[in-house]
Point group: D2
Chain length 362, copies 4
């Protein structure tokens, strides 16, 4: 099994970069949930390329066609299916990717795994393009969560060596995220864009860190052990190409902390239980405690760079120098921001669907 996610919903993603279409099916969604297709399109546009200086100019519209599961603006209980038809389908010769795998891409591992039968064009099923159907599913889940008062927002906290401001863990201000370039401050946006532009000039690429917060969650969400909120978010987030690290709350800083600093004291605020700090990122024992869930994700630099790289011709077993033609994003991080939101939305909505089971008697 592979491109399928979910315990209570079942998300199935299909398609190859240059195949006829990419798409998704989403099963297990209750009937009667409203769907706002315009709002979904706006969300998808945040991921789309070709909108600015630092992303690839290939103009995909990423306009999903819904084939099933939605009727008159509401989910109808049947599985939801949507496709995005590819316009730039197979034209050139992509067999070279089979022969000379690009460093940092899945060309080589796909070749080994599928024995030469894989669709190598543009990375095939491993292409970042497959995050578009993920965003269809995630954009829908995000709408349904918002209806329940649950909001999700992600922003960039680091590009290359340039840091931006992090959320307050106890009170992440989602509304402060910039519209055009998603950071908490205009300054950070500027320096980060500059870093990206520089990388482009140098025929290079840069990585970064995205922070995501979920507010308005009820306490008690998640299951023990492998069904915990961290496990569920981790499984889907690591399904996003180029993600190589994931931290919850204080994350890696916990290592150098001590118990009295790390623990979040319980307090009463307006008659409700809260914690004074939120180092744990809203999750204790895998279960939400009612505080914001906050996590951050490290994205590696785009593997496609214009600089010559060393690789091997798999047919001749000779070491060769590879030059990747075409234009590529010098930094994938800005476009990954809505993808991280989508992943979080799917994971959280899946947990909410399952949550009804846990406590019947309360």
């Amino acid at each position: 099994m592979s491109s399928t996610y979910g315990e209570n919903l079942k998300l199935s993603i299909f398609g190859q970069s240059h195949g006829p279409a990419i798409g998704m099916t989403l099963d297990g969604i209750p009937a009667g949930l409203p769907v706002d297709l315009d709002q979904l399109q706006e969300f998808l546009n945040r991921r789309a390329p070709g909108q600015n200086d630092w992303s690839t100019p290939r103009k995909e519209e990423d306009r999903p066609e819904f084939l099933a599961g939605i009727l008159d603006g509401y989910t109808c209980g049947a599985p939801i299916a949507a496709v995005i038809h590819n316009k730039n389908t197979r034209s050139g010769d992509y067999n070279s990717l089979k022969d000379v795998p690009r460093p940092g891409h899945a060309d080589y591992t796909a070749e080994v795994k599928y024995g030469g039968f894989q669709d190598a064009a543009g990375g095939g099923h491993f292409s970042g393009r497959l995050t578009a159907p993920l965003c269809i599913a995630g954009g829908l889940c995000k709408q349904w969560l918002e209806e329940m008062g649950i909001r999700i927002g992600a922003h960039i906290v680091q590009i290359g060596s340039m840091d931006g401001e992090y959320f307050s863990l106890t009170n992440p201000e989602l509304d402060k995220i910039g519209m055009f370039f998603p950071t908490l401050t205009a300054e950070a946006a500027e320096t980060m864009q500059h870093t990206i532009a520089q990388a482009k000039e140098q025929l290079e690429s840069v990585g970064g860190i995205i922070e995501c917060a979920v507010t308005g969650l009820p306490a008690g969400l998640g299951e023990p052990m492998f069904g915990g909120v961290e496990s569920r978010i981790a499984q889907i987030v690591y399904g996003i190409p180029a993600v190589k690290a994931l931290e919850f709350g204080q994350g890696k800083s916990f290592a150098a902390s001590c118990g009295s600093m790390a623990n979040d004291p319980f307090i009463v605020e307006n008659g409700e239980i809260r914690t004074e700090t939120n180092n744990c990122g809203g999750i204790l024992g895998g279960i939400t405690n009612g505080m914001p869930v906050v996590f951050s994700v490290t994205v590696k630099p785009t593997p496609s760079i214009a600089k010559p790289q060393r690789s091997v011709n798999l047919k001749t077993m000779e070491e060769v120098t590879l030059e990747i033609k075409g234009r590529h994003d010098p930094c994938i991080v800005p476009r990954a921001v809505p993808v991280v939101e989508a992943a979080a939305a799917i994971a959280i909505f899946d947990l909410i669907l399952g949550n009804s089971q846990t406590n019947r008697r309360k």
Copy 2:
């Protein structure tokens, strides 16, 4: 669903800290795999408490009784079941944990989730004690992987602010891991133990970072997207209590890197494809590339500390000061090392069981 893991095997973990027994069932294991119970016991002893200065003196033997699935030293194809009977069962009054939740523990989230019906004694099903059955399953998988030439080793790279040496990503030397205290150098072991002893004196606890490497893996293991090696490892590793960050290869350092530094060039070595560096931690597109899989895990400081802490009495909704009685590990990291190995072993063995499907024609 909750305490169940696996796509091709099914691991189910049960038990509460002070219940009659904890245990696991492991279904989907092929018949005819040898089982060395002495070697398993040695592995379990690495996790057991009470063996040194810095861990809790509660003496549990953690000796599993196998109820099913093993016959005459081999798996017999039927589900494997094993239990560890608890000796320290419910004695004192644990209802106070329901009333006044310990900061950093799952007491409060369990109370909300299970509406007061949870087994609160010693953390119940959320107790670190549940990692013992995880180690039974993982210890078995580790043996079977070793038979195939796949080795797994973890060690401590940070305790509090004290750093130790990291593995070479291209050539992790598992044999250099210390037996008594698992670090790569004796110096690191000493300073880390000192840090733990200090924390104990100060009625505090410390966190740390564990690095784990898997060597001898074939290329081509893993599935695309949510079935990738990172996703599968992440799901189980985040099921270990107190884990709050997970990084693969260069991990978080990727953010400040650039494409030409981050990508691992393909080379030919002894007629085989390898990569010159291994920044990606042996995984491209979720699939192994034949290089060592290396990841690191951040463990937060033990939440149970002797220092007084602030909490709330859930019945009266008054803020109170909580003092946790009894002895507790000032640092859980050393005992978590075999648990991380166990989790990795289960994830990898599960992937190997599924791998036979991917490429029939090659």
Copy 3:
């Protein structure tokens, strides 16, 4: 995967006939459900052997020990685990079953599947004894369903060529089922017992048909296609050894019917929608319609008979005559009645746990 069932709960059954213990884990059960262990024991006793003339005199007590998941008479949200320790463990030489497989049993298929590593004693994991843990899980689910007003009752409608009365499909009278021998009339009980006694005298065995009804179900339970009530019941019922046919409602008689006779007209009764007949057995499109769910199950004759039978010595590949020693049930049908109820209870409770998702807006 194998001995695992459920979409919303996860039932895992383990054990071999003559191993140290058999048992089950049941994960995904809400906290706070009451558990009546005496009532459970009564239910298990209905399956236990040695209680009368026609069943094997091996006296097993089948008294489950609960290791986890239940606290002070209520489920606590953690996975439930229970074991039954075997008293008659491995004594004789069972290797002969590997060499000369018994016709009608799984000895041969297990040998092929597990390559000689299987536990052959008493049928190992394929033994009918494994229905005891199924009855633990099912007995619990039955209690929880009864709390919701959902009742399940099964009885025997045929033994050999002797027919008994069937339920009224619209109004199955569960209270009319005989306590000692589960039929609707005393006459049927008598003739069926006579048939069993006769089979025993003739060193033979007989099969039969069990009918099961579930009353008090809400309409709207089940999922479309492969998640329908029939599919879910079928998967678990065919997991009971010796079941070879399964029919819903009119079942096989539908073949010779016509549309106007087969369809169940909708009517209004006491202001509620009902159907006048219930040929469909309470299920339309896989979803309950609020009428009783009624199905029947054909059980083949016990394969173990005292008469000599023809088999093959797998080592020498010679055809041989096999005589099965020991006492065996001449008819397994009466003891299978509670097992069918258990299977139905588990399937229905699983569907109810999932049902909360389907319609949020109504």
Copy 4:
């Protein structure tokens, strides 16, 4: 969850009768399997309506468009996705089906389950039309099985009260199945077609029984208990609309049999183990024994009939007389024959994918 099937492959079916498209995704299929689209189309045509007197004249072409997973005539390892665009999309007013549910259809249960949000047109997601994507997946699996020497054939053994010949259980002659009307003898075909024509004249419909055989299977396929071949086939077969009974081997006749007649003696034939009879339908303990797997399926009469029927107006709660307009198959059984083959093919191929795990050491 609902319209998803499979343990080792994941089949997901989507679409509503009158929606824009119906389709399926099929994940977990190895790379490098050949795909013959012409042969697939021939298979699909067997299910298509409008080809003869007794089926509905609505002309659908049921020509699948493959969006993903197939490249240059071979599977490429990525999930397979295919759609069939609907030509007869929503035109008339189907709200009447919500108000006055058709007896025998899922109109009422869908209304209750989805609270009025369901797509009622033509039965929506519950329509028999959804068996077309099932046949896409099944047609592919059938091809791949044939490559391994595993053949699947189904035929009609009963229409109304007219019986045809059954397969020999030990040697089902798949090649004797009629091309035009799938029975073993031309006589049976004639009388059955006559029965269907009669039903049509009388504004009625008839049911029937389909028998299906799988030959060339290896012994050792299937998993114990709920993963047995019977359970796996049952789950998918009961996902076909109108199936109400399922029998394996002798099926229901086992009830009146006795042990010595029911058991299949093992014999040696050409140096191989076989059974002399095949009453068990090739399955012992849920595992194949190398003999043909044979099962039969009862299909209820088409619920849509021209005769007036009684129903209830759900809005007014008045009992009304319903007349179903349009043309409908007086007998769905002939068109269900390839659907049963498809279901069997999917179940068997899924089991084969998982089978590699069971015995590594043999």
